[in-house]
């Protein structure tokens, strides 16, 4: 196994940094758009968060959120932004796996894939 090359680690770090920045920015922008629409539609209502009633099924799954956002539902658009935010670290993990593969650091490809497995299990299997 070839020892990791610090120069390619540097490149990987720059890529990861940019990916995180774009992900957060994109997610915040979508949440903001949804938020403005939400306030326009429901701004005068008084929300009740004092008692817990689980979200409707549409907001609990990835497909449900995408469907609602496509229908221009403001809460759906906010949820879509939140999903983008949750996907940002996941994308970072996928990126790292590819970066380690380029470096031929197969031990770290394996470690990264374990983390990715846990993340996907949480997001897909459980929701």
């Amino acid at each position: 196994m070839k020892p990791p090359d610090s120069y390619s680690d540097y490149k990987l770090e720059q890529w990861i940094g940019n990916l995180l920045r774009i992900g957060v920015f994109l997610a915040a922008a979508v949440v903001l758009i949804g938020g403005v629409m939400f306030l326009a539609q429901h701004g005068s209502e008084h929300p009740d968060y004092n008692s817990f009633h689980a979200q409707t099924n549409a907001f609990r799954s990835v497909t449900g959120v995408v469907k609602d956002a496509a229908a221009h539902d403001s809460r759906g658009i906010i949820q879509l932004g939140l999903l983008l935010l949750i996907f940002t670290p996941i994308a970072r993990v996928i990126f790292s796996a590819m970066g380690f593969a380029v470096e031929r650091d197969y031990l770290y490809v394996a470690i990264t894939l374990v983390v990715l497995g846990v993340l996907l299990y949480s997001l897909l299997k459980l929701s």
Partner: protein, 248 residues
């Protein structure tokens, strides 16, 4: 900070508060990590390896959060607040590095270097299994309470694994987003993440963290830390009190 603020001041149900807090934790940690990673302080190998522990812990924590009572969550939260205030009030003992580096750190290639002035400062990683174990705990707390549990991650890396402070704080921050994303899936399914609440919290915290980074540079840190510590302790006590009297 977000969960006690929402539950104690605004009377929000702790489950909504946890969901909103988790989302804002992902936002701020990813935003900050972007800068640190590019500057070369973050050790992505240490981060990646320890994320196995924190994500598994986070899954466990999120499962527990959906099963135990809100009162129990409140009590754990209160104790955690008081403990972290105590941790930050105490001066960090500089532990002399006496033992030899862990063979695991060699095998996993965790040793690295970080920029200090013009040169690169090399460092070695110690007691990998103990650090890994504590990370499972940090992940569980993060998943259970919807927090980043950065303090506990830094504790594991700084005090146990003897990673330089700059590297441990930035790597901890790097791991928070992935850890939180692991429990976010469970929270989403359970309906903890309400868009109407998560939206202002996420946008507010993100804006605040960008402004705060500038203000912080001009503030007297010692007095700031003391006031902050006292506020945390009061919140912790109130959280436990409310949980015990069934008001949470």
């Amino acid at each position: 900070m977000i969960v006690p603020l929402l539950t104690l001041v605004f009377g929000v149900d702790i489950r909504y508060a946890i969901g909103a807090s988790l989302v804002s934790v992902i936002a701020t940690s990813s935003g900050a990590a972007a800068a640190y990673v590019r500057e070369g302080y973050t050790n992505i190998r240490i981060g990646m390896f320890l994320e196995i522990a924190t994500t598994l812990g986070a899954l466990l924590g999120a499962f527990l959060a959906a099963r135990i009572s809100t009162g129990a969550i409140g009590i754990i939260f209160g104790l955690m607040l008081i403990y972290s205030a105590w941790l930050s009030s105490r001066p960090r003992p500089a532990i002399p590095i006496t033992d030899t580096p862990d063979p695991w750190s060699e095998r996993l290639r965790l040793n690295g270097s970080y920029p200090q002035g013009e040169t690169l400062q090399a460092y070695q990683v110690h007691r990998v299994p103990a650090g890994f174990g504590l990370m499972i705990g940090a992940g569980t707390l993060s998943g259970l309470l919807g927090i980043g549990s950065g303090a506990m991650k830094v504790l594991a890396m700084d005090q146990i694994m003897k990673i330089p402070f700059k590297v441990s704080t930035t790597t901890s921050n790097f791991m928070i987003g992935v850890t939180a994303a692991a429990s976010a899936g469970v929270y989403l399914k359970r309906g903890f993440i309400d868009p109407g609440l998560a939206m202002p919290v996420m946008l507010g915290v993100l804006t605040g963290s960008m402004l705060g980074a500038r203000v912080l540079l001009k503030s007297p840190t010692k007095r700031l830390r003391l006031v902050f510590g006292l506020v945390i302790v009061v919140m912790g006590i109130e959280m436990i009190f409310n949980a015990l009297t069934g008001r949470l």
